[in-house]
């Protein structure tokens, strides 16, 4: 037999001015199961809560209805009060008679009638409430960082620093990412390798960090605190544990005509290769598409020269399975493909390069050993034109709708570096707007103009035409001078828009995290939770969330680490008990619920049932993981048999409310 207590709050005059609270208490007192019905000045006050607690104890209440303000205000207050008086907190229901009644209706009679109906609905619902207990779910004290660029390295180092194990999964043979390819960094002009490579080494030497290079995440199961991840370690045909990185094999390898990815194809490497001198791990990798031994079975030079016997042509991909408490996504970015911008002649003319290619051309470890030469004829360029916003700020058909953010600054950097090193070179920068918000950023850009005399021209390049004499005709408009220009250039540098890495989209599906239309990961709140995804336990680091420069990336990497550490510190997490559950006896195992679950909380198990005739029958039934379920209820409607129901908002509870309102 239910013993329900009803408590009607005056909220000073907020409720009492338009709702006859005494009449509400009186009317609800006659509802079935209600044993006590009281009103009080301020139910949420200390003494109001005392009133409720005492009634729970004295009247041995099995359910409580508070007619007061919105449950969004004080549901937790009253739940806690009930719990402290020994009543399960989920046996409390709130009837919202302030925001949704007294504040919107002016006539007392009307408002009182409505308040009574809302109260009756709450009483009807509380009749069907069941005690719910929050589950505790343990936290695996290990983090996974997907992506080994500067964002991932920073995150991993910070997490390891806090005393937790971290794995970095990097799809390339080495960590380092885009920053390893960059020559100098703005606005300080210090060398990128000089600040990055110590961090790479630190990561490799930290005993809490495991680096899975040349690996990709293949499958993610589980939920916050307890993810199970399958990592595919791609065969590199070299035993990582044996290889010393001496590089003899790469020297002796007879196949030397392989486009070098690290230098963006501007020069060649051998079929067995180490991406660059400071690679971490410094281990050779065989490219099976070019290796003569793998293609024809004839060669085997690397195997012969390797003194430690690390070469293994028969190596297979291996799958590592590991549990993690938190996952940080740091998949980074790439410059967009410029094929469709044929007005810039990128595909026709080798002297039209992207900014990232220019980084390599200027880098001491790059194809020209640091001397800036035209790729076509290795001559010294005297006129260089930079084009901004190539593919950025376009409508959807023409490119990316967003500003890529970093191009204004790195172009100023390039322009400045060239003018510094080669004062006889004229540098033109065509811009639409120069966007330099950031510490010392605008000063930096002004230095390029004022100190280095870089020609900034407001306007866009319309056409780039390679000419027969090796020069490049750049046709552009100078909007401020109101004239059309032709510049005879030696090189053209395109500031290509950046986009999220292509592996991010399938990864988002695996992680059940959201992406925006540009494939950037969506943060849980754009302002207040910028490094968390909406999926609990998944954090975002670096440019996978949006275009960022290095300091911002590092800051976000550390912020994501802090959030992950906050999670890993806990031994267990408390779950919301208002989650879905499936009645196995009714479940058909049809998979409808699984299809609509945004969290992957539903799995299927083969369960044995004892039949009335003492035989057993094995049926496929749904099983909800209460730690993953967030309680939206999508599955309850997808389920045709009604096996799936939601704690706290069950079918019968909602229908009881409907009945009470419509009666």
């Amino acid at each position: 037999m239910q013993r329900i207590g009803v408590f009607v709050c005056h909220c000073g005059t907020n409720i009492a001015a338009t709702v006859d609270v005494k009449a509400v208490a009186e009317a609800l007192g006659h509802e079935p199961g209600v044993v006590i019905s009281q009103d009080y000045q301020y139910m949420c006050s200390e003494s109001g809560q005392e009133l409720v607690k005492n009634a729970i104890r004295e009247q041995k209440l099995t359910g409580v209805v508070i007619c007061s303000c919105s449950p969004r205000m004080h549901e937790n207050t009253f739940r806690k009060a009930a719990a402290s008086a020994g009543l399960n907190p989920y046996l409390v229901e709130i009837a919202n008679i302030r925001e949704q009644c007294s504040w919107i209706h002016k006539e007392v009679a009307n408002a009182t009638d409505k308040a009574i109906i809302l109260g009756k609905a709450a009483v009807a619902k509380v009749h069907l409430n069941t005690p719910l207990n929050s589950m505790e779910s343990p936290v695996v004290k290990r983090a996974l960082v997907i992506g080994g660029g500067i964002a991932g390295i920073q995150t991993a180092l910070d997490i390891a620093e806090a005393g937790f194990d971290v794995d970095i999964v990097e799809k390339q043979p080495t960590i380092g990412g885009k920053m390893a390819q960059i020559d100098k960094t703005f606005p300080t002009l210090d060398c990128a390798a000089c600040i990055l490579t110590p961090k790479m080494v630190e990561a490799s030497q930290n005993e809490r960090i495991t680096i899975h290079s040349f690996s990709e995440v293949e499958d993610v199961k589980g939920f916050v605190g307890n993810f199970t991840v399958k990592i595919r370690k791609k065969a590199r045909f070299v035993d990582e544990t044996k290889c010393t990185g001496c590089g003899l094999c790469t020297e002796k390898c007879p196949m030397k005509k392989v486009p070098n990815e690290f230098n963006l194809g501007l020069d060649n490497r051998s079929a067995i290769y180490i991406p660059f001198a400071q690679a971490v791990p410094k281990v050779a990798t065989i490219d099976p598409n070019y290796c003569m031994m793998m293609k024809t079975g004839k060669c085997g030079v690397c195997s012969k020269v390797c003194s430690v016997g690390a070469i293994d042509y028969k190596q297979q991909d291996t799958i590592i399975e590991q549990q993690y408490g938190a996952i940080v996504v740091a998949t980074g970015f790439n410059p967009i493909n410029l094929d469709k911008y044929d007005e810039f002649a990128y595909n026709q003319c080798p002297d039209v390069v992207t900014s990232l290619e220019l980084e390599r051309l200027m880098n001491a470890a790059g194809p020209n050993g640091g001397t800036l030469l035209r790729p076509s004829d290795k001559s010294h360029p005297h006129t260089i034109v930079f084009v901004q916003c190539v593919g950025s700020r376009c409508d959807d058909e023409k490119g990316k709708p967003y500003c890529s953010k970093i191009c204004c600054m790195y172009t100023a950097k390039h322009a400045m570096l060239i003018r510094e090193k080669y004062p006889d070179t004229e540098v033109y920068v065509f811009y639409i707007d120069v966007r330099t918000p950031g510490k010392n950023f605008d000063e930096f850009y002004r230095r390029a103009v004022e100190q280095y005399n870089v020609h900034y021209i407001k306007g866009m390049v319309g056409k780039v035409t390679p000419k027969s004499d090796g020069k490049i005709d750049v046709q552009a408009s100078d909007l401020l001078a109101n004239e059309q220009l032709h510049i005879d250039a030696d090189m053209v540098v395109l500031a290509a828009a950046i986009e999220p890495d292509k592996t991010a989209r399938p990864l988002a599906t695996m992680l059940t995290t959201q992406m925006d239309t540009n494939d950037f990961f969506t943060e849980a709140h754009p302002k207040l939770r910028p490094v968390e995804s909406a999926t609990a336990g998944i954090f975002l680091s670096g440019a996978c969330q949006g275009p960022k420069d290095i300091p911002e990336t590092v800051a976000q990497g550390s912020a994501a680490a802090a959030k992950a550490i906050g999670l890993l510190c806990k031994n267990s997490i408390t779950c919301n008990p208002c989650v879905a559950h499936s009645d196995e006896l009714m479940c058909n195992g049809c998979s409808s619920c699984e299809k609509v679950c945004p969290y992957g909380a539903i799995t299927y198990i083969d369960k044995e049932f004892r039949m009335p005739d003492r035989t057993t029958k094995v049926r496929r039934v749904a099983s909800v993981n209460p730690a993953v379920c967030q309680g939206c209820g999508a599955c309850t409607v997808a389920c045709p048999s009604g096996a799936m129901d939601l704690n706290g908002f069950s079918n019968s509870q909602i229908m009881a409310e409907v009945d009470a309102i419509c009666k």
Partner: protein, 323 residues
């Protein structure tokens, strides 16, 4: 055809490929063909029938049959293969336990249409060159075959088998059918006319549950209408609301899963055109969310279990048809 089927069934039974065969046998009357399971060559020889009245869809029976030990041979007409596939997709049938032989489909005959001609005491019906020779207690009657075919066959959507292990006879194609004509006609009526139409029809419902029990999409372990906890269980069509609700909920539960096999209307003893409710959902899904044929494959997402970000709003109901 019947001989070829029996011959093949016997072979498969004999070599141990299958343990049972599901097909049809005669019920009380000559035109009353009912699904049946056969376990021996003798049974097949004496009872197995495949003729113009074997219209019942045997797919649903495989839910129970594949829960048993051993493998079963199922003869599936094109329309049955869609139901079969849909049940595979919903994990209700264990595909490994069924050997599917695709057999030609209808058109099958509707005994009610023959009876409607005033022909009674029917002993047998024979199709001779598309003229039906009907032997009755009172002598022989004839009528054109075309006037006696089942409504569901008259608006056949496909002669193609979407799944089979082997075929007896030729495979056909997906057809351009006129199956949505009546739905469209109703859509163009006024709301009052539609209401009157459905009151006329649904008020005939005696809640015998035949539509639910025959429906291959209705394979729930425990139907919501039988479950006292569901809040909508009710055995009798107590009033007009109950009549409406039963059919709305049933149609909604099979929306996106119904293959339009037409069995619901075929078995309705009150001749309520229940398939129109399902077809309304199918037509809406096709028009609003893109063509979708339940059971055409086993992997695609059911339209109600997926979405696109630019789906139409429910207010589209106000823009279509007549109020």
């Amino acid at each position: 055809m019947q001989e070829a089927m029996i011959k093949r069934a016997k072979e498969l039974l004999a070599d141990g490929s299958v343990d049972r065969v599901i097909g049809w046998k005669r019920g009380e009357f000559a035109y009353d063909m009912t699904p049946a399971v056969f376990t021996s060559a003798e049974e097949l020889d004496s009872e197995f029938i495949f003729d113009d009245f074997t219209s019942a869809n045997v797919s649903k029976y495989l839910v129970k049959e594949t829960a048993k030990e051993g493998k079963i041979l199922a003869f599936l007409k094109p329309c049955d293969t869609y139901s079969f596939n849909q049940l595979i997709k919903e994990h209700r049938i264990d595909r490994d336990k069924v050997y599917v032989i695709g057999i030609p489909g209808g058109p099958k005959l509707d005994i009610e249409k023959i009876k409607a001609k005033g022909i009674t005491g029917i002993l047998s019906v024979k199709n001779e060159d598309y003229t039906l020779k009907i032997e009755t207690l009172y002598g022989e009657e004839t009528m054109p075959f075309s006037e006696a075919i089942l409504d569901k066959c008259a608006s056949c959507k496909s002669k193609k088998h979407v799944v089979y292990d082997e075929l007896i006879g030729e495979d056909g194609d997906v057809l351009d059918s006129n199956r949505f004509d009546m739905v469209e006609k109703l859509e163009n009526m006024t709301a009052q006319e539609r209401f009157d139409f459905w009151r006329d029809q649904l008020s005939k419902c005696i809640r015998c549950n035949a539509c639910r029990n025959v429906c291959p999409a209705c394979t729930c372990e425990n139907c919501v209408f039988d479950n006292p906890k569901s809040g909508i269980d009710n055995k009798a069509p107590a009033d007009s609301f109950e009549e409406n609700m039963f059919h709305i909920i049933r149609a909604f539960h099979v929306a996106g899963r119904c293959t339009d096999c037409g069995e619901c209307s075929r078995v309705c003893p009150q001749h309520i055109p229940l398939h129109l409710l399902n077809r309304k959902f199918i037509k809406d899904i096709n028009e609003l969310y893109g063509e979708y044929q339940a059971g055409a494959d086993t992997t695609s997402r059911a339209p109600l279990n997926t979405y696109t970000k630019d789906d139409c709003e429910p207010s589209i109901v106000h823009e279509r048809g007549v109020e």
